[in-house]
Symmetry: none
Subunit: 144 residues, 2 copies
DNA sequence: GTTATGTAGTGGGATAAAGTGGGATTACGA
DNA sequence: TCGTAATCCCACTTTATCCCACTACATAAC
């Protein structure tokens, strides 16, 4: 289970080091794609295969699912984690998520999300404001 | 059953010692997350697994549940209790709960809450003020 | 009442590891 | 063939982790 939040730096060579806590679970081969809310998703290869399989089985005739498949599949790249535990972020994904030097890596169960740090902080603030409603939902779900 | 309230110090290395009374029940592996009302929740690993399982099954398509799983999962870290009975609080959680040197640990049945001492005192005062209403509620529920 | 003994909580130093930056070498396209 | 970019490798800096020591308070012994 991937959890936690880390601030790392994306260097001038577009390298981004993964937190050690993620490395074992993530393995050496990963897939990075455009994510939701202007962040990137990074999946371990095994997880990705499951997702790609589901996307393939979507009816291609419908324009909305067609758009969704294109958005995700066309925006995906598979990369290897290098010897120092780093991955390479291609330019077009860097641009998509507006990544600069300071980057947030966030573990969300089966994937790692990659955020511009400012965007992430702002997103968190928005979520915290709705904490009351969240407490209600958590209670309803029997989580807390 | 985790109960009681303790004032401990969070040292310059972000270490926080658990009260001895908690150590047996909590075990060596714990998970700390963002909680409600600006405190942190600390769960024994077994308890956490139950929560995480429920969160995993939430639909990712809806933006509100997406926000919630990010809030909790990305806001969580798993830590081991060290030889001296201490845990490490990562910077981003320290910041979230505004933890300084003086920290309150409060047992709440199956979790331990970690508070800034001032915030805790203030919270208690607020609750005490509404004690009248609370007594009513407890009575209604057949608890007291 | 005073002195041992033990344990909880705290602090600090030494060592190991993680994260980061940069140079050198190799591959690739113009 | 040249210039650019990707890859590998090494080195530095900071942070984390381990281990031991000190203090305070409590209990037990004399």
């Amino acid at each position: 289970m991937l959890i936690g939040e880390y601030l790392h730096t994306l260097d001038s060579k577009k390298r981004l080091s993964l937190p050690t806590k993620y490395r074992r679970e993530v393995g050496r081969k990963v897939v990075i794609t455009r994510g939701l809310d202007q962040c990137l998703f990074m999946f371990p290869l095994a997880t990705w295969k499951g997702i790609a399989g589901k996307l393939e089985s979507l009816p291609f005739g419908q324009s909305d699912t067609r758009g969704m498949s294109r958005f995700i599949l066309a925006g995906a790249v598979d990369t290897e984690v290098d010897g120092a535990g780093r991955i390479l972020i291609p330019e077009f994904l860097k641009e998509f998520a507006d990544l600069r030097s300071r980057v947030i890596l966030a573990g969300v169960s089966d994937r790692v999300e990659i955020w511009n740090d400012k965007t992430w902080e702002e997103y968190k603030r928005r979520i915290e404001k709705s904490a009351e409603g969240m407490a209600q939902t958590l209670g309803d779900l029997g989580i807390l």
